[in-house]
């Protein structure tokens, strides 16, 4: 995988009119992993709501929208909360985005699986 080379400017350098502020990758990695967690949360909530009518009822925060209201709001809350925590943990660290991306892609894949009807309908409550 391509990374920075000696021909390219380094963090904190300035070439011509372009400034490259020295910023760690940690916050980027935190955001990427949090996105994966958000997708996974949506997948888990979708499958749980299908598997249990009590969960579906509990997620029906709006009568007009149905359980989708709770599923989506809760997934967004989980995403933002995890992002906030990971940001605080990694804000000054140089955690490589490569690792974060791999983690996020796995989580996103699981999240998509959880939202896939042919999958979550396997757990449909009787």
């Amino acid at each position: 995988m391509a990374t920075t080379t000696h021909d390219q400017p380094r963090a904190g350098e300035r070439t011509g009119d372009i400034e490259y502020p020295d910023r760690p990758e940690g916050p980027i990695s935190a955001a990427i992993i949090a996105a994966g967690v958000g997708a996974l949360a949506l997948g888990i909530l979708t499958t749980l709501a299908e598997a249990s009518t009590s969960v579906a009822d509990a997620l029906e925060w709006s009568e007009r929208v149905g359980p989708l209201s709770g599923k989506t709001i809760l997934a967004v809350v989980v995403w933002l909360a995890v992002w906030g925590v990971l940001y605080a943990v990694y804000r000054n660290r140089r955690l490589e985005t490569r690792t974060a991306l791999i983690i996020a892609l796995v989580l996103i894949a699981l999240g998509v699986l959880g939202t896939f009807p042919k999958f979550f309908q396997l757990f449909a409550a009787e």
Binding site: T3, R10, L68
Partner: protein, 170 residues
């Protein structure tokens, strides 16, 4: 020749925001792709970064508006428990039931992953700024997440268009 209130909202959700989303994606992708040392000059980078920031933030905002209008305005009309609702019409016949049981069920969920990813890319661009020019791996990561956001929105959009063709919200 007029639209009902519901048809207007379905148009705004599907076509107006959909078209803007496509525009923002195209602009953002071109901006991210061209953000390479050999393609940028000192004079051009300021303007390019400004356009890129506008593009990715616009895509994130539009993605949120799309899922919010879809879920909270159009979807309740779709799922009304009346014989004339789109959901009832689809489920009334076995030949169209899968448009709800598969297409709508997937669309209504997977669409929400798109704004999460688009927001992540917007954050990366705003936070890292010109560093994306020198740090190819982060730039490629942003491109991948940006494309994934588009793919998920595309799946939801395409399914929505098909469903609307079979049973429009009235």
């Amino acid at each position: 020749m007029s639209f009902t209130n519901r048809e207007w909202w379905a148009l705004i959700h599907g076509m107006v925001l959909g078209a803007l989303f496509l525009l923002a994606f195209a602009g953002g992708l071109a901006g991210l792709y061209s953000l390479r040392p050999e393609l940028v000059t000192s004079a051009g980078v300021v303007e390019r970064m400004r356009r890129l920031k506008i593009g990715v933030v616009a895509m994130a905002v539009i993605a949120w508006l799309t899922v919010i209008t879809g879920t909270w305005i159009v979807y309740p009309w779709y799922r009304e428990e009346t014989p004339g609702s789109a959901k009832s019409r689809l489920l009334a016949r076995s030949s169209t039931a899968d448009w709800h049981n598969f297409a709508m069920e997937w669309k209504e969920h997977i669409a929400w992953i798109s704004p999460i990813l688009a927001t992540t890319v917007a954050f990366i661009v705003l936070y890292y700024g010109t560093n994306l020019i020198r740090h190819d791996r982060v730039r490629r990561t942003a491109i991948l997440l940006f494309v994934l956001a588009f793919v998920f929105a595309g799946i939801a959009g395409a399914l929505g268009a098909f469903i609307t063709k079979v049973a429009p919200v009235r």
